[in-house]
Symmetry: C2
Subunit: 205 residues, 2 copies
DNA sequence: ACCTCACATGTACCTTGGGACATGTACTTT
DNA sequence: AAAGTACATGTCCCAAGGTACATGTGAGGT
């Protein structure tokens, strides 16, 4: 077949491999996958069902997956093929990892100096609470896995590893937000005007 | 003016506010911004110059920025306007934060069970080294700021906060990778075949 | 018998992101 | 004087993401 998957040099695409990975656990329909994406990968990698169905078609055309069964209301479950399994294994071992973070909270922090100190404090408090909360949820989830609530299969162990990442990252962000609240709000500014910027580099043509 | 920025309900767009934020520090050209994006926000928020120029045009049309000066080789420096400054402040204080992580390393971990134990160990070792390395770089950068190498302006303090986030997150990821290496590689498998999956739902057409 | 809700799959459109390609200018080195 | 490099701005196209819209089915309640 001739389907072009990776533009020329072989860049990776996430949704595709996410779907292959989930299908490697066993057959599932687009609907199932949409839910599992939301439940399991949700906070880490969002995916909407239209994209999922579209991607499934493409994967099917490429021979990476095939229809496993037809169910009640038009339900179509897909099964991963040897080709698909080989592809996700290749991706996991050979394709280099994209390490960019893309965390909006962090991006925003570059511009904290533009915020009123009070607004910033309130913002950081909310952020801290939020991150601490999901960190706690993640910890609870990790504990359940450690108790063996979900068995000891390879999938479960991998989930456990992923959950550990979530725990640590969210906790790190919660700690960070807490720490950030202790950073003094820069020099006292001019007094009458709270806007410290926008003048700079006085005009020449 | 009538330019529609945020599709209906007011969703945020990152590049736009990233540019506004950088311009709030003072006038800069597209070229400058492309470099600053790469140097400062690089690992957190990648942006290519074509997008930057395009976005600058749009921001200019919207009255958020305006041409500040013309330089040597067609160089056009932009300056943020009051409107633009108000917009980024509004974004910072009013717009709710998107907390999704989108970290490929973590996404991959969901599928670690598909990897050969040896490959996985090698992978985790590389990941650990990589994360530890940038964490160290970030720490060095933080130390330089703490020594006051870059002054004590609001911008610098915000940068310091952002760097702290990078430090903590990368360190968390390094620790996570190290921890993950100690997780036993699931049940011993069948012995003759190292591929534990892909059979499920055994074949009929 | 009807209604409603969860299940299930898709199309259409618009925006965003990324890479390739194109163009031209000033400075610096040989 | 020529050549190379860093500066500087952009167009074009395709892939990917996100939202809205459209459609139909089966199970369970009233």
């Amino acid at each position: 077949m001739d389907v072009r998957f990776t533009s020329e040099d072989g860049e990776a695409v996430s949704l595709r491999h996410g779907l292959l990975g989930l299908l490697a656990e066993g057959p599932a329909s687009g609907y199932d996958l949409a839910r599992r994406f939301e439940e399991h990968l949700g906070p880490v990698w969002p995916a909407q069902h239209p994209k999922i169905y579209a991607e499934l078609s493409r994967l099917s055309d490429a021979g990476m997956i095939e229809v496993d069964s037809h169910g009640p209301r038009g339900r179509k479950a897909y099964r991963i093929t040897e080709t698909g399994l080989a592809e996700i294994r290749r991706w996991l071992t050979e394709e280099k990892v994209d390490h960019t973070l893309r965390i909006e909270s962090v991006l925003r922090s570059f511009f904290f100096w533009l915020m009123e100190p009070d607004d910033l404090q309130a913002h950081l408090r909310r952020e801290q609470e939020f991150f601490a909360e999901i960190a706690e949820v993640a910890r609870g989830y990790a504990a359940a896995k450690d108790r063996g609530d979900f068995g000891t299969s390879g999938q479960t162990r991998s989930m456990r590893v992923a959950v550990e990442a979530a725990t640590r990252i969210y906790q790190a962000l919660a700690d960070w937000a807490e720490w950030a609240r202790t950073v003094p709000p820069a020099v006292p500014a001019t007094g009458d005007d709270a806007a410290p910027a926008a003048r700079a580099a006085d005009g020449e043509t």
